[in-house]
């Protein structure tokens, strides 16, 4: 029997249906893999007891003929989703001992459909970062290594770096993520897996620890497009507890999934050809264009003229919303409290000791941008440019049905690189931030390797609510790219 951790999510569901193995067996295999890969630091909290209990219940349900769409599938949950009775930290010291009394809607939806949780995965503190090096509980190490003699530890990307590393290293079949400016798509690209951020409003934000509320959106990681479609379908849906959750039916994405792109118009935004982009990424992008052309798609040149203003817009809006959202950490209702002389002392000391450097930096930017005298010049100005960025996309949709771009301007970098200058780190998200500001669905697909043997991703962006086209174009690329590379440690196990 093939090792259970090597199966895809869809293969696992079929195997469980055919009784080739039990939910308990696949849970045990993944727990063992997780325990054997602790050097990656992908998990903040392992939950083997919960997994085994859920797997046991899943086997009982299946025996009675009442299995759900994800029944018995071992998944991981980003430690930004509140899980009832299970410590949820956002990888911040300020929430280091927080045990939610409620379940996030997305994780509740997955459990409703039978999912098994092996653990909570690491992230950049409060999801602020692109390298998973701002966690208060240590860096996550990518399961990938550069080919040759280099043994440097690489970043898995961020902020959902633990989820991406865990799926890539075969420690779970899928994982939840959140994406505010690229936090699913960039780590998916760095770790050689698939990841989708759906349309803003598709997944409920209830129970997800807030960073920037007009941008935060839950999504999923898995190793195939079909697996992402299956998992996202379970995670999605209207929730009255989130006022920005859309009252829209969730299409049966996995059933309607097809790699047929014949007649589809694929837009290539000229502004994404940025200076200094590595030649290999330019070549891979061109290869993606050729693959879709060969599949019968029509390639259209489009322009998104405000692209260069997306990052500066994002670095006002996201910190502004962050400074408001994180005002709740006051040492009174939950989280770390540091005693002081008086109430204000207690606030200031608790927050100073509880938050890390990147979070403090963003709170400072946001507070400054929202402060009296600057509000119109920065925050309102950024919201106006945000409308122009959205309008660029709306105009592009008159000419095309989806956009094809690279996911990130580089492959994974070594831990410690890009840390001298915050703006250099922010540039990681140059291709993912515009669609976040516009609330559009975007997916990253592994499409090739660079000269060091590291994965590179292509991104497909679609119209609002048209995840189906995003999945279908992604499937076409997946078929053509036939990406079979695995991180070294997973290859050893597969052999």
């Amino acid at each position: 029997m093939t090792e259970l951790t090597q199966l895809t999510l869809a293969q696992t569901i079929r195997g469980l249906e055919k009784k080739e193995f039990s939910a308990r067996e696949t849970a045990q295999a993944h727990i063992a893999a997780m325990e054997g890969a602790r050097h990656l630091n992908a998990f903040v909290t392992e939950t083997p007891d919960i997994a085994l209990k859920q797997a046991h219940d899943s086997d009982a349900r299946r025996a009675k003929g009442g299995a759900g769409p994800l029944d018995g599938v071992p998944l991981a949950v980003k430690d930004l989703f509140c899980t009832k009775g299970v410590k949820t930290t956002a990888c911040s010291k300020i929430l280091g001992n927080f045990v939610p009394a409620y379940e996030s809607t997305v994780s509740a939806n997955l459990f409703r459909d039978g999912a098994v949780m092996v653990g909570k995965t690491s992230l950049d503190e409060f999801a602020m970062g692109s390298s998973n090096t701002t966690s208060a509980f240590g860096n996550v190490i990518s399961p990938w290594k550069r080919a040759g003699n280099s043994n440097a530890d690489l970043v898995p990307g961020g902020s959902s770096g633990g989820s991406a590393a865990a799926v890539s290293a075969r420690l779970c079949l899928g994982a939840t993520g959140t994406d505010t400016g690229g936090s699913i798509r960039q780590p998916a690209a760095f770790c050689g897996i698939s990841g989708i951020k759906p349309t803003y409003g598709r997944c409920s934000r209830w129970g997800i620890i807030a960073f920037a509320s007009s941008l935060d959106q839950a999504g999923v990681f898995a190793r195939t497009v079909e697996d992402c479609a299956i998992m996202l379908k379970s995670a999605s849906g209207h929730d009255p507890k989130d006022s920005t959750s859309a009252k829209k039916d969730v299409p049966d994405w996995p059933k309607l999934l097809s790699g047929n792109v014949k007649g589809l118009r694929i837009g290539i935004p000229k502004e994404y050809r940025v200076d200094g982009m590595p030649e290999e990424i330019v070549k891979l992008w061109q290869q993606g264009i050729e693959w879709l052309k060969a599949g019968g798609a029509q390639i259209v040149d489009v322009s998104l003229p405000h692209t260069k203003y997306a990052l500066p817009t994002y670095y006002i809006i996201a910190p502004a919303e962050c400074s408001s959202n994180l005002a709740r950490y006051d040492g009174v209702r939950y989280g770390l409290r540091v005693e002081g002389e008086n109430l204000n002392d207690m606030y200031e000391l608790s927050r100073a000791q509880g938050f890390g450097a990147e979070v403090k930096r963003r709170i400072m930017i946001g507070t400054y941008a929202l402060s009296s005298g600057y509000y119109d010049a920065y925050y309102i100005k950024a919201q106006k440019v945000r409308r122009l960025i959205l309008n660029d996309f709306l105009k592009a949709w008159e000419k095309c049905d989806a956009l094809l771009t690279p996911t990130a301007p580089s492959a994974a970098f070594a831990i410690g690189e890009n840390e001298d200058d915050p703006i250099k780190m922010y540039l990681n998200d140059v291709f993912t931030v515009p669609s976040s500001l516009a609330g559009l669905p975007g997916m990253s697909i592994p499409a090739g390797l660079d000269r060091d043997g590291l994965p590179l991703g292509l991104q497909i962006i679609g119209r609002a609510w048209d995840e189906q086209t995003v999945f279908n174009v992604s499937r076409a690329i997946e078929k053509a790219a036939n990406f079979t590379a695995m991180p070294q440690m997973a290859r050893r196990k597969a052999a």
Binding site: T367, Y368, L390
Partner: protein, 95 residues
């Protein structure tokens, strides 16, 4: 435009973050860099452009103003650093 240490001190106060002197110097430099990067937004003509607060064009839903949850102070207080008899405890704020 330049953000000096005094501005950083004021902003840190607004954000209720106690910063050491060295941190203030560091943040003054970084904030200047980042706000300098953001300055390029001034190149964009936004006359007659409505601000976009949310990407999804959807009216906020209304519901009856009725109690739908609550009545469980123990659960609400379960993560409080300090609680007494159903209340959060904070340092004394009145003389």
């Amino acid at each position: 435009m330049s953000i000096d240490k005094n501005t950083v001190k004021k902003v840190a106060g607004l954000a209720r973050l106690r910063l050491a002197d060295a941190e203030m110097e560091k943040y003054a430099g970084q904030l200047n860099n980042i706000m300098g990067f953001v300055e390029q937004l001034n190149e964009v003509n936004t006359d007659n452009v409505e601000p976009l607060p949310s990407p999804v064009d959807m009216p906020l839903p209304l519901r009856r103003d009725a109690v739908t949850d609550g009545g469980d102070p123990d659960t609400v207080l379960s993560n409080a650093p300090e609680a007494v008899e159903g209340f959060y405890v904070v340092p004394k704020v009145v003389e």
